[in-house]
């Protein structure tokens, strides 16, 4: 795969950042020009597109069904790579401080001609995930709200290759956000640590870990519609405690949130790896540990 000239890639990165900034400024002006009374409080959890998650933990007693799909496209060396994982989540909020989510996962692998990966075209139920979220800092009087999230996971297939494995992981996140303009402009920030352990064919357990940090902006451009941009920096290691660095990646992309009806919403994000590094590989992307593109789509049906 042609990964391009580093200068050209840098130029593309700068152009995208400029475009994102311009979009931000235009949206700010548009937002300020509208009637402030038409905009009301929004739950921030999904307004950043759901790679970056906001701090809201929902409303006490609220229950919802949420199919959430994450898709990854493109690996190094050519070929066709498209993998998705859908979690059929049940979400409920037992108290004003805590939210619990759980559900099975279904994956689809469509891999052909990718070096280092077996060809595969299969869909399978492949595991179970749960998530516990608790408010650490309320927005008022603090300008920044922070929620801690722990997501234990079990998978019976490797998330990258689709090979049969036994995989346990724990995605730990700090999810923070701030309201920069009341009910209009929001900034989101996530800190991620995800250790995993996997047993493959040879029977050996192998540990790995991922560190991530994100920053996102979201604007409510018209009531119940929020657009924005999300930036992630991810580092991958062999070993559960950042033992051996294997690569890093920067993702950037647009986000979209729409509260379709009082009890129905959608949240979406599409991100492209715009920079990356893999030790020993002369490339400006890491397409071994990470995909070229990734996307998320979540629907929520409250009942």
């Amino acid at each position: 795969m042609d990964r391009g000239d580093p200068c050209e890639s840098l130029a593309r990165l700068v152009a995208r950042l400029i475009a994102a900034t311009t979009l931000t400024l235009v949206a700010t002006v548009a937002v300020k020009a509208q009637d402030a009374g038409a905009f009301h409080e929004v739950e921030t959890k999904y307004i950043f597109g759901n790679f970056t998650v906001g701090s809201s933990t929902g409303i006490e007693g609220e229950k919802a069904f949420e199919p959430e799909t994450e898709a990854n496209f493109g690996k190094g060396g050519g070929g066709h790579y498209a993998v998705s994982q859908t979690t059929l989540e049940y979400e409920f909020t037992p108290t004003q401080y805590m939210q619990i989510i759980f559900g099975p996962t279904v994956s689809y692998y469509n891999i052909h001609g990718v070096p280092g990966l077996d060809d595969r075209n299969v869909a399978a139920i492949n595991g179970f995930e749960a998530e516990f979220r608790s408010v650490l800092i309320d927005r008022n009087p603090s300008p920044i709200a922070v929620t801690a999230s722990l997501e234990p996971e079990f998978h019976s297939r490797d998330e990258t290759s689709g090979a049969k494995v036994v995989n346990y992981g724990l995605e730990a996140k700090l999810e923070a956000d701030a309201e920069l303009i009341k009910n209009r402009l929001f900034w989101g920030f996530n800190l991620l640590y995800e250790p995993e352990t996997t047993r493959a064919d040879l029977g050996q357990w192998q540990n790995e870990s991922t560190f991530g940090i994100s920053s996102a902006l979201a604007y409510q451009i018209v009531p119940n519609v929020v657009i924005g941009a999300d930036l992630w920096y991810l580092r991958h290691y062999d070993g559960a405690a950042f033992n051996s660095f294997t690569g890093d990646a920067v993702y950037l992309g647009p986000t979209f949130y729409w509260k379709i009806a009082p009890k129905v919403l959608m949240s979406a994000a599409w991100e492209t790896q715009i920079a990356g590094h893999e030790p020993g590989v002369s490339s400006n992307l890491d397409l071994t540990d990470f995909s070229r593109q990734r996307a998320r789509l979540l629907l929520e049906f409250e009942f």
Binding site: H40, E41, V42, E43, S56, T57, G58, I59, E60, G61, E62, T93, P94, T95, Q96, Y97, M98, I100, A130, F132, R133, S134, V135, D138, R139, N140, P141, A148, S149, L150, P152, Y168, L170, A172, P195, T197, W205, N207, A240, A241, P262, K263
Partner: protein
């Protein structure tokens, strides 16, 4: 350092810690429940009466909501993190945690134009 010495045990403990933290905060609120402040509000012709209510800061709040309309309403607030469906002609109580001073919006989720504000001082 191996953070996974006994597979499956420490993630469970971490999740329990998160859950206990949330439950502890809830228990703390209930311990102070006898000091809660009461506020009353009604809904008629899909309007809150009064549209602005006030309550003291740093004390749990009980909001008594009387629905005087012929249709059900759902008292809801994003910042208060509460919701309650109230049948026509009946009354419901919404319990809110102790709050810092500020302005908190609420609305009827079945009639989104029905809106009010809780001022905590």
């Amino acid at each position: 350092m191996n953070l996974l010495p006994r597979r499956g045990v420490w993630p469970v403990r971490a999740c329990l810690a998160i859950a206990l933290f949330g439950v502890a905060r809830l228990a703390s609120e209930h311990a102070n429940a006898q000091q809660s402040a009461s506020v009353a509000i009604s809904v008629k012709d899909h309007r809150f009466q009064p549209s602005q209510i006030s309550a003291p800061a740093n004390r749990p709040i009980s909001i008594k909501v009387k629905n005087l309309d012929a249709a059900p309403m759902e008292f809801e607030s994003v910042s208060l993190r509460v919701e309650k469906v109230i049948a026509p002609g009946s009354e419901g109580v919404v319990n809110v945690r102790a709050l810092a001073p500020g302005r908190y919006e609420f609305f009827d989720d079945f009639h989104q134009e029905t809106r009010g504000v809780l001022m905590v001082e």
